[in-house]
Symmetry: C2
Subunit: 187 residues, 2 copies
């Protein structure tokens, strides 16, 4: 009995030591990774609201033509906390980086609000994923709709990729629009 218990506890201790000693990669070990279905589609991540918020825009658009519903919708952008820490310390987005673009209704004049806008329901969730093992261009982009799609195939390159590759401030990411990413490399 004592020997069996000792064996069990020793095994537990060994497991704890091994887990605790895995320092070099440990910062990225717990990072939520992209998960794919058998057909290669990306599964919708459910925890993106708990990731690190990098900034929010309202009605941001790149066309000279006026938007159809000025001033448009809110767009919250989130990145896995571990990917952010890695970017902050190395200046590089690690493989398996995900950026979530959560699009919310623009609401006004409810409750005591008389001026300005606040965020209503989610209307769409889009994902940018860096995964060179799957995407020859490094990054791919996905659209999950509001809460309608549990998985999504990569969007055609002309939907997001081309513009991100051409105009994003750093490695396909529009760091220039987001306070906590902008200037990381300069700091």
């Amino acid at each position: 009995m004592t020997i069996r218990l000792t064996t069990i506890l020793l095994t537990m201790l060994l497991a704890a030591l091994i887990a605790g000693g895995d320092q070099p990669d440990s910062k990225l070990t717990g990072m939520p990774k992209p998960v794919y279905a058998e057909d290669g589609s990306l599964l919708r991540p459910d925890s993106y609201e708990e990731w690190m918020h990098v900034g929010t825009s309202l009605g941001l658009g790149y066309s000279e033509e006026a938007a159809s519903d000025p001033p448009g919708s809110f767009q919250n952008v989130y990145i896995q906390r571990e990917a952010y820490a890695h970017y902050q310390s190395t200046g590089r987005f690690p493989e398996k980086t995900m950026l979530a673009l959560a699009i919310h209704q623009r609401r006004q004049k409810q409750s005591i609000a008389r001026q300005g806008f606040f965020q209503g329901d989610l209307t769409a969730l889009e994902l940018a994923v860096k995964d060179s093992s799957r995407f020859p261009d490094g990054w791919a982009y996905f659209d999950f709709g509001a809460k309608t799609r549990d998985s999504a195939q990569p969007l055609p390159k002309d939907r997001c990729f081309s513009c991100h590759q051409k105009s994003a401030g750093d490695d396909n990411v529009f760091v220039q629009f987001y306070p906590v990413l902008r200037g990381v490399k300069a700091r």
Copy 2:
């Protein structure tokens, strides 16, 4: 030797079981707490951008009079992740809850942006703190300016408290304006 090792491992196992079983408080143990100077002023928290983002507004105002600079500034709101988890599971904001209101410039037409607005530099940081051991009303409010003040005294009650007490959706917090807080109790 075997008996001593068994004792050590048993002690470790017991400690692990106790720590693991201490569910009610353990979730709040690592929560960043408000820190006060000797004169009672609140020290500026430096990690608020890594807290949980609950929502963003633009130019939100409660007066019927038009804002002086429509559509105003962006306001990002963050809460400690542990306080959010506690609210989600119990419907109550725990003591030492902090909500940070980070006010950012509204910027437009930079880089490839032609429509809409994105976030510029931080212009002010305000804090709401729930700490009944210090504030008879439960909550107090603080203004740290842009990056000018390292500590702040509670604001007079007519600056923030009165309106929060009267019109906030739940326990002085304007949950009605923030997607991840709104409806937590209903869910």
